[in-house]
């Protein structure tokens, strides 16, 4: 009896590579077009047109930007730590991509459907801070270093409440597997019973990705551009794309944990016929729109306000809500005992 090719070691490796390709290519195109999406939406909010010159409706703009970025000269500042300086943007972008390995875009459609998917996502997003710290230190510039310090403190602070929110979701779902978490939302999206912590999660997501109004790491008015002042050319491009990839990642996490993932919001005939990945993409797009909307609407927080919000507002609320949810689940007998 011979094993089918896909069950041999070589087969598994090839299959995984193909799956990765099938996920990463649309993701990268998505990242490119997110920059276009953001500029168009911001343009509409600010009564401008946004990019409209390159191609029909300005649709080739992301490629024009990419080519421009690649043609620029790469500058390595004197006194910088060359290896780390080049490594930092790669870390940022790479981490934003590898997190997608566990994201289910349809029932069972994840590259790795692992038991501890939530922990994996949390671990990868907590590593994201290294790209920024290393960039800030390796640049050997005071602005970059200040930006890196701000960003590190900010990301570590907001991760704490984000972690508690994820634990609350775990208690409701009774599983750490992302696929099971989505299936547990078949009847009720977790955004409804967990509404307060859903909001906290999304705002912490803004802080994790260093997006407005939490973009103090690159506060133009005080520290020029923060941790990537010294970057040029494609190493700058990787930071830029990494930020957008992280936005898509946080939107994907929000969709999976709170908005029912690939499940149709209206559980009957014409809507359930739309394939799951389309619902997933649609929900991610709504989250991304809110990201852009927030950026175009709110002014930047002051640094002490940012810290106060994270530690004195979000942390107590998420902690109390976690205990509350755990108590309700235990005494109503809904808790999934393994």
């Amino acid at each position: 009896m011979t094993m089918p090719f896909w069950d041999t070691d070589t087969g598994i490796v090839i299959l995984t590579l193909l799956k990765t390709l099938a996920l990463v290519v649309p993701l990268l195109i998505g990242v490119a077009y997110l920059t276009y999406f953001e500029r168009k939406v911001m343009g509409a909010i600010q009564l401008r047109k946004g990019p409209n010159v390159v191609g029909p409706f300005g649709l080739w703009q992301p490629f024009a930007d990419a080519i421009k970025m690649l043609m620029k000269e790469t500058i390595l500042p004197t006194g910088s730590d060359k290896v780390l300086f080049i490594l930092a943007p790669m870390i940022t972008f790479g981490l934003a991509i590898i997190a997608w390995a566990v994201m289910p875009v349809n029932n069972g459609w994840a590259i790795a459907n692992i038991n501890v998917g939530v922990l994996y996502l949390f671990a990868v997003s907590s590593l994201g801070v290294y790209g920024i710290i290393i960039a800030g230190w390796a640049s050997n510039s005071k602005y970059a270093f200040l930006g890196a310090l701000r960003s590190a403190a900010q990301m570590v602070s907001y991760e704490v409440s984000m972690g508690f929110v994820m634990v609350t979701v775990l208690i409701l779902a009774g599983s750490q597997n992302l696929n099971d978490i989505v299936l547990a939302q078949k009847h009720l999206w977790f955004a409804i019973p967990l509404f307060p912590v859903f909001i906290i999660f999304f705002i912490s997501g803004l802080a994790e990705t260093n997006r407005a109004p939490f973009d103090l790491a690159e506060g133009e008015s005080e520290i020029v551009a923060g941790f990537f002042v010294e970057y040029s050319s494609m190493s700058f491009g990787l930071f830029f794309l990494g930020e957008y990839a992280n936005m898509i990642l946080i939107s994907g996490m929000t969709t999976t944990l709170f908005l029912g993932g690939w499940l149709s919001p209206i559980p009957f005939a014409p809507f359930t016929m739309i394939p799951g990945p389309l619902w997933f993409i649609f929900k991610v797009l709504i989250c991304l729109f809110v990201f852009v909307w927030v950026r175009a609407t709110l002014p930047r927080l002051r640094y002490d306000q940012l810290m106060a919000l994270g530690w004195k507002v979000f942390l107590p609320i998420s902690l109390v809500y976690l205990v509350l949810v755990a108590g309700v689940m235990e005494y109503s007998g809904l808790l999934a005992h393994a």
């Binding site: 070691d9 501890v116 671990a123 290294y130 710290i133 590190a152 570590v156 393994a338």
Partner: protein, 213 residues
């Protein structure tokens, strides 16, 4: 086959980065190699099937502890010349310590014995087909509950201790009371004055610091 290859690859990186932690001259590089070591240790946990431990190691050590490490080390102003100054004087003492440690390690390694039942346990890291986090939880919250709670209390005490040691109220620090600020109404802070020509408006009475909050 792939699992074996992965094991040797990641253990090699782990050991190499451990060597680099000790030998690299730049302390920031040392910390970064330490982080690489942590990540590879997590991967080794993963290969043995202890997925929960692996990711907790990554989250706690790499995501939090090492960030603070890196923070502190980056702020240090290390003078590399001064660092190497006493090398010849301290080398014999260091060599002696290293020798003692080496003998102790060799002694432990020589007398190492694996429990007969251990081999069977190693093949099935988690019993009864439950995931490793469930298996761990079943142990921690039943047999080891007092120890688990106690370690939590120790951490709490350490945290309170750190806060007590570092928290001091510098009388002049400019912190704000947000709720007091929000509760203010415009009458307390704003006065519209019609200033007569050539005289200007009179200054309001001086407010204390508490009132301006």
């Amino acid at each position: 086959m792939i699992a074996n290859l992965a094991f040797y690859l990641f253990s090699f990186i782990l050991l190499a980065s451990a060597v680099m932690v000790v030998t690299s001259r730049n302390p920031v590089h040392a910390v970064l190699f330490l982080i690489l070591g942590f990540v590879n240790a997590a991967v080794l946990f993963l290969l043995t099937g202890a997925e929960f431990l692996a990711f907790i190691l990554a989250i706690v050590y790499v995501g939090a502890v090492a960030v603070i490490f890196l923070f502190v080390v980056m702020m240090l102003d290390v003078d590399f010349v001064a660092l190497n100054e006493g090398f010849q004087r301290y080398a014999p003492v260091g060599a002696l310590v290293a020798l003692i440690m080496f003998i102790e390690l060799a002694f432990i390694a020589g007398n190492w014995a694996i429990a007969p039942a251990g081999g069977a346990d190693r093949m099935f890291p988690t019993p009864d087909n439950v995931t490793s986090s469930v298996a761990l939880g079943n142990l921690l919250y039943t047999s080891y509950l007092p120890v688990f709670q106690l370690s939590g209390i120790v951490l709490l005490v350490a945290m309170i201790g750190a806060i007590v040691l570092t928290h001091r109220d510098r009388k002049r620090s400019l912190h704000q009371n947000l709720s007091a600020q929000h509760a203010r109404d415009p009458k307390q802070t704003l006065a519209l004055v019609n200033a007569p020509l050539g005289q200007g408006a009179a200054l309001p009475a001086k407010q204390t610091h508490e009132e301006t909050l």
